[in-house]
Amino acid sequence: MRHLLSTRDLLREDAIGLLDIAEDMSEVQNREVKKLPTLRGKTVVNLFFEDSTRTRTSFEVAAKRLSADVINFSAKGSSVSKGESLKDTAQTLAAMGADGVVIRHSASGAPQVLAQSGWIDAGVVNAGDGTHEHPTQALLDAFTMRRRIHGDAARGRDLDGVSVMIVGDVLHSRVARSNLWLLETLGAHVTFVAPATLVPVGASTWPVDIRYDLDVALAEVRPDVVMMLRIQQERMNAAFFPTTREYARQWGLDDERLLALRPDSIVMHPGPMNRGLEISSRAADSAQSTVIEQVANGVSIRMAVLYSLLSGDREARS
């Protein structure tokens, strides 16, 4: 693998390979010395044009656990805010000898541009671009599901027959898109539940069931996994629903809906959570919730991705 730009074009065996490597990486987190020498001498740049503490920190921890040097390059207060183009930024990083670039950008497709431009020879990891994709989040979600469902026998397995319900702001969610493509590849069945105003145009052509009433959907589908999406208040520039209270009542995972779930269903959230809006505190803190596991697994997945992109012979990878 040369870059990780999307889950849509990820092959099944590559996806399972990454999940299996992440299993090995997660064992490193339990050791006394939580560090591997594998990427010693490599430089990973976190190039974040959008605010993100969680994802950036996760990538930073992952790179450091593999002994890479990490440079955090955020747009605020940098030359980017002075008007530097992506091209000039990329060439600057190339001149400094970056081996890997983790990029988050508000424009969908920015990582693709960076990877195919020839401005920089580094491996590119998409850490979220606009409303397009967020592949490492989808991988860590799949990893979390596989672990909960298959336990210690998870290696080599896919998610065949698992029913996943993704609820909330699908329109703005790159997490929902990346999850859909990856889960489809791994054999799971996906249902989106959202207010009609938050379903993207064209979603009817995707391999997904779209429903609008959460209670009916939960009762009929009885999903193995319920994934709540964050209401992205910073992207709510139009009136997608009347009030947040009404949203919480109709599409939030409240205590009542939590109790109605199958006892072995798991509850996921990519974070950061709006408690009381899309998810109640009781649901977020219940034993069915994987929110904290997702954060821990995020480091393992990102270690697996950085290892796959940066460790081997560069000629052989392309």
Partner: protein, 183 residues
């Protein structure tokens, strides 16, 4: 043309002798940890563990594990990305134990160098020993084996193939000319 160097029964005898030697040098099976290096080293480690339990019925049950050295190799940048394999350490850990590393073939010594680094990140054993089925020479590092199944002086043009029933279906060690070296 492949030449068979060790047959099924030779491999069994070599492993039985190594198991006895390990117990002799460790004065019993206490504080012993046998770590196989994937892939075939793990199979050999399991067989040695089973032998040790047969010889010393009082030996602890959980003494065999596996140690993947992929992440510690010094040649990662010269090959396509390798998929790492599983590391599993017996539940008591390796602190203060005598760790016996097990691999199928000892050649340059670089795998063992990587294994020593990996062990250092898992804990601090009292001692580390090395058991190999075949020592073919050509060391590139100051490393030697403590327990050897067979010393097999070889040329660098030759290939040593270790085949074990659990992985390959049959059981033998053979020696042939590496492809490309045949004129």
């Amino acid at each position: 043309m492949a030449r068979i160097v060790l047959q099924n029964s030779d491999i069994t005898r070599a492993l039985t002798r190594i198991s006895h030697e390990i117990l002799e040098s460790n004065r019993g099976a206490d504080d012993l940890v046998i770590l196989g290096i994937p892939t075939r080293g793990v199979v050999l480690a399991e067989r040695i563990g089973a032998q040790i339990r047969q010889i010393e019925p009082g030996a602890p049950v959980d003494i065999v594990g596996s140690l993947d050295v992929t992440m510690y190799r010094d040649d990662l940048a010269h090959h396509p990305t390798r998929a790492p394999q599983r590391t599993r350490v017996p539940s008591d850990g390796i602190d203060g134990k005598t760790v016996v590393l097990v691999d199928d073939v000892l050649y340059s010594g670089r795998t063992i160098r990587a294994a020593l680094d990996a062990i250092g990140d898992l804990g601090r054993p009292r001692a580390v020993r090395l058991a190999v089925l075949v020592d073919r020479g050509h060391r590139e590092l100051p490393i030697r084996a403590d327990f050897v199944g067979k010393n097999l002086p070889s040329s660098t043009d030759e290939r040593i193939n270790v085949r074990l029933a659990e992985i390959d279906g049959n059981e033998e060690v053979s020696l042939d000319l590496a492809t490309g070296a045949i004129s």
